[in-house]
């Protein structure tokens, strides 16, 4: 019985750490996808500027308030625009950006198909 008690305590403690680790992972994932607006070429995660410190704190606070990853991005996009996100959302301003690689792949494929396969036949 005594061992069972210890076992339960260990399981609870282990789960708390796991929960915290998951939160930390999500926090890092979000801050790595946010651009530091005052330091060129650095993410919020990498930067130690005053702005980045505040955004890191904000992400932590929003996660504690049960905001989802998408809600945090949308909050920050509303404040600073699409520029703050490294991974821009699929909307009317970014259709070209997202669809261009697929378009190029299809055109390239068509050229290869036409030149090599049809000609060969």
């Amino acid at each position: 019985m005594r061992y069972l008690k210890y076992f339960i305590i260990i399981i609870i403690l282990f789960n708390f750490t796991l929960l915290n680790a998951q939160d930390k992972n999500l926090e890092s994932k979000i801050t790595k996808n946010l651009r530091c607006l005052i330091c060129q070429g650095q993410s919020i995660y990498d930067s130690d500027s005053e702005f980045a410190i505040s955004v890191k704190l904000l992400v932590k606070k929003k996660l504690n308030e049960d905001f989802s990853e998408k809600e945090i991005y949308s909050f920050l996009r509303d404040k600073y625009g699409e520029w703050i996100l490294y991974d821009p959302q699929f909307n009317k301003n970014t259709y070209f950006l997202w669809l261009l690689p697929i378009l190029m792949f299809l055109i390239g494929g068509a050229i290869i198909f036409k030149t090599f396969i049809i000609k060969k036949n």
């Binding site: 607006l37 005052i38 060129q40 005053e50 505040s54 600073y80 625009g81 520029w83 703050i84």
Partner: protein
């Protein structure tokens, strides 16, 4: 003939792509905020600068009145440059200046106000920078012109003679 049209179309496609990317090279890769935004002011609760009481944003801003919301800190050198312009704006009758003291030590901020005079009707404290994020600010100083619960204009960096005359014109 068919093959010729096909080749011409491919060349036009790649030339268009080249033109778009070439133009893209000239775009600035520095964040440029939208300065003339008619956004609603954010709703927040903040600690008052010189007391432990909290105030909500709805109690600060009244309808049909112009406000200047200025983010400042005693450690910020450009804030000293813009201070005379804020003092001059304070002489205008139809505008109130609200300060957000950004990540500052209260003693230093008080010394700053004693030395340069306070243009602020009310100051709120932003110790961790979260209120400034609510305003979409990313540094100090930043200034917002507010009317009827909307941000009419945003000034990034210190105010100058041009921004001062623009504000005076807008609040007339």
């Amino acid at each position: 003939m068919k093959i010729r049209i096909y080749h011409v179309m491919i060349i036009i496609f790649f030339l268009t792509l080249f033109f778009i990317f070439y133009k893209g090279l000239k775009n600035s890769n520095i964040y440029t905020p939208n300065l003339s935004i008619k956004k609603d002011i954010p709703i927040f609760e903040a600690k008052l600068f010189d007391s432990d009481n909290f105030i909500s944003s709805q109690k600060i801003f009244e309808e049909n009145k112009f406000y200047i919301m200025n983010i400042w800190a005693s450690w910020c050198a450009p804030c000293r440059v813009e201070h005379p312009f804020l003092l001059e704006l304070n002489n205008q009758k139809n505008i109130e200046i609200i300060g957000i003291n950004y990540k500052d030590k209260i003693e230093n901020a008080k010394k700053f106000l004693k030395e340069f005079k306070s243009p602020y009707e009310l100051i709120i404290s932003d110790k961790d920078g979260l209120i400034s994020i609510e305003w979409g600010a990313y540094g100090v100083p930043e200034t917002f012109l507010i009317h009827n619960g909307k941000i009419l204009k945003k000034y990034v960096g210190p105010l100058n003679i041009n921004s001062l005359s623009e504000i005076k014109r807008l609040i007339k």
